[in-house]
């Protein structure tokens, strides 16, 4: 808990960092753009170099927006899962939701290989990918939900989540074995994660999905706070636990599923960022933690994207590797700090 003045300083610093990183993410890339030109173009719409307009509007802004919204979505869905399962190591990735999404996409890309290459699918195609990823992640979430009603021990659910994830990976392996080369490559590139492959048209699908998921989560703040003390207490205080849990799982599926569909499975953001937010804001109240996690999620993923294309690299590194390298130390720190991994 901080005073109002301290709070204001923290929030404005984070927003400032977010804006700076957003600009940096636009400036940096395989072609280095002069800072002044970028700012001028963004704020006035004019530039002496017309090719900059193409680069910025067709590639850099979509990529930066994707990083921003993927950061929002993954970290917020991770926070929700940690609260619902009351487990600091929960997250969309650990519970196998991303694996489920990858199963959906694998089935679509490789199973239904009568379609053309993924990148050539238009707006309707975007919807089918999002739908496939949603259905995949929804399936895993549904299984976890059934188990979580029957099994009380939260570690059991976590282990089962990992098992579901592995089972999905096994099915994906079989699909890979039987699919043709171009489909296989399309899928493997998808699994490496990429923020740069999302076009402006695709953003028209991605951003609304994420925004709906985020709005749902913000409407669930009160329920999430009640769930901090466990479902029994939440119920005794008048919360409709089943409905709230369903809505939380639905929004998580929407957030993590959509991002995974377009960018591939991006790991560790969902687990690590909520903990960074807890360290920064020192509270468990979702009214602060939720927007805080969202902001920090945007910051961390923009930063990861910037690192993945540090000047001098012709090609960008897979975003998944960068987020893992940033996230894993945080997760290790949680395990060492919390010897009893029992509560969030």
């Amino acid at each position: 808990m901080f005073s109002k003045k301290q709070n204001f300083i923290i929030w404005s610093t984070l927003v400032l960092i977010l804006i700076i990183l957003f600009l940096f993410d636009i400036i940096l890339g395989s072609v280095r753009l002069p800072f002044t030109d970028v700012v001028k173009l963004l704020f006035t719409g004019n530039t002496e170099r017309p090719e900059y307009t193409t680069i910025i509007y067709r590639f850099r802004i979509p990529k930066a927006l994707t990083a921003l919204f993927a950061g929002f979505a993954l970290s917020v869905s991770g926070l929700q899962m940690q609260t619902v399962f009351r487990n600091p190591l929960a997250g969309p990735y650990v519970l196998g939701i991303s694996a489920g999404a990858s199963l959906g996409v694998a089935l679509l890309v490789m199973g239904l290989s009568t379609f053309t290459v993924v990148s050539q699918i238009g707006v309707l195609g975007n919807w089918t990918i999002v739908l496939a990823a949603w259905l995949g992640s929804g399936l895993i979430l549904f299984l976890i939900l059934i188990v979580s009603i029957r099994v009380k021990d939260i570690m059991t659910i976590l282990i089962l989540g990992i098992m579901f994830g592995s089972a999905t990976a096994a099915i994906v392996n079989i699909l890979q074995y039987f699919s043709n080369e171009s489909m296989l490559k399309a899928f493997i590139v998808w699994t490496m994660g990429s923020l740069g492959g999302v076009s402006l048209n695709q953003l028209k699908v991605l951003i609304p999905s994420v925004v709906i998921g985020l709005i749902m989560t913000f409407l669930l703040i009160k329920a999430l706070n009640a769930m901090l003390v466990g479902e029994n207490y939440a119920k005794s205080m008048g919360l409709n636990v089943r409905l709230s849990r369903f809505l939380i799982f639905f929004s998580t599926s929407l957030l993590a599923g959509s991002i995974t569909a377009f960018c591939g499975p991006i790991g560790f953001i969902g687990i690590a960022v909520p903990h960074i937010a807890r360290i920064v804001f020192k509270t468990a109240n979702h009214k602060i933690l939720l927007p805080g996690t969202m902001l920090l999620g945007g910051i961390v993923l923009l930063l990861s994207d910037i690192i993945s294309q540090l000047p001098g690299h012709e090609r960008t590194l897979p975003i998944n590797s960068i987020t893992a390298l940033i996230g894993i130390p945080v997760v290790i720190w949680i395990i060492i700090k919390n010897k009893k991994i029992t509560s969030v």
Binding site: P88, K222, N225, V229, G230, K235, A284
Partner: protein
């Protein structure tokens, strides 16, 4: 049966667990109990008999199999979720420990059924939460984190949360389970005070019968096939308490108000003395399986003398005389004298 002034009345309640297939797993078939305003009620019974299940049924966390529970004049289904939560609150045995959640935040969570959809705390909500903390004597802990306070303090905070919830009925499942003796007394005493001063009906389950007898207005006694209710004193006088542990050697001592293991006394011993020294020496001898006969010096006997508040124990029989400075020394001698194990001794 329903009487005037009953806040809670339980009629022909059947509790247990539904089992897949045909028959349910039934703990009790016909529970009839009631609670009035301002009453502190202790739910007593042995482990695993169904205390938690009954409390979960009353607090609406679990559905009963049959029968009715009336809260005021209505049943649970006649209330909305929020109205029900404004009428009854619950403290479970679960230890709540959330990183970064401070005491005040936890207590103000109790305002959940009173706040708007965003959970925004109004000035009234903040005041009520602060008052709740004050009532349990935890005001100075408001900004502490939950993992920085002791079990006794945490239990007070959990009680404050129910006070913030502002309900007429409060249900607590073993609120004294993890506490040391002074804390047990303090918590139950606090519940008694709250039931009287705030005019609440508080129901708690416990294994601490001594405390329950001292503080509770009424006891709900869970026996093997039925649940009895009554003032603790009534249950003592009509020997209902003895039925709790019918199968063991534990018997309720009507005079002392405490349970005691029934033992087969093996050897007789005389004891001469008075005051607390006499009482505690007698207890020690009984623990060693002696049947103590007061003032009998015709058999082996012990005489207690007091010198400047220090006791001196003299063991006398036909020919020998031994002196001891503590009960412990005396008991060691007696153990050697009679030989261990004691089971083989005869009169």
């Amino acid at each position: 049966m329903k009487e005037e002034g009953d806040i809670l009345s339980i009629n022909h309640l059947e509790i247990g667990y539904p089992v897949k297939g045909n028959s349910n797993y039934i703990l009790y078939r016909d529970i009839n109990l009631c609670g009035k305003s301002g009453e502190l009620i202790a739910l007593v019974g042995k482990n695993g008999i169904g205390k938690s299940t009954l409390l979960r049924n009353i607090s609406g966390l679990q559905s009963s199999l049959n029968g009715t529970i009336n809260y005021f004049d209505k049943q649970k289904q006649d209330y909305t979720r929020a109205d029900f939560a404004r009428m009854i609150s619950f403290v479970s045995t679960e230890i709540v420990n959330v990183t970064n959640l401070n005491v005040f935040d936890l207590v103000s969570l109790g305002r959940f059924p009173h706040t708007n959809w965003l959970g925004k705390l109004t000035i009234e909500d903040i005041n009520k939460s602060a008052q709740a903390l004050e009532m349990v004597g935890m005001s100075s802990f408001a900004r502490k984190n939950l993992n920085e306070i002791s079990d006794g303090e945490r239990q007070r905070v959990m009680i404050a949360r129910t006070l913030a919830q502002d309900t007429k009925l409060i249900i607590l499942d073993e609120p004294t389970a993890f506490l040391d003796l002074p804390n047990k007394y303090e918590i139950i005493h606090l519940l008694n005070k709250l039931s009287k001063e705030e005019d609440k009906t508080i129901i708690f389950s416990t294994h601490d019968l001594n405390i329950a007898i001292q503080e509770a207005d009424k006891i709900w006694l869970m026996l093997d096939d039925k649940v009895e209710e009554g003032a603790p004193e009534d249950l003592i006088l009509d020997e209902t308490f003895n039925k709790i542990f019918e199968k063991s050697n534990l018997r309720f001592d009507k005079i002392k108000g405490d349970f005691k293991m029934q033992k087969m006394h093996q050897c007789k011993i005389g004891l001469i003395g008075e005051g607390p020294h006499y009482t505690w020496t007698k207890k020690a001898l009984e623990r060693l399986n002696f049947k103590v006969e007061k003032g009998n010096d015709s058999i082996q006997y012990i005489k207690i003398d007091k010198e400047n508040n220090f006791g001196k124990w003299t063991l006398l029989d036909d020919e020998n005389k031994h002196e001891f400075n503590s009960i412990y020394d005396l008991s060691i001698y007696l153990k050697i004298q009679t030989g261990l194990p004691r089971g083989r001794q005869k009169n």
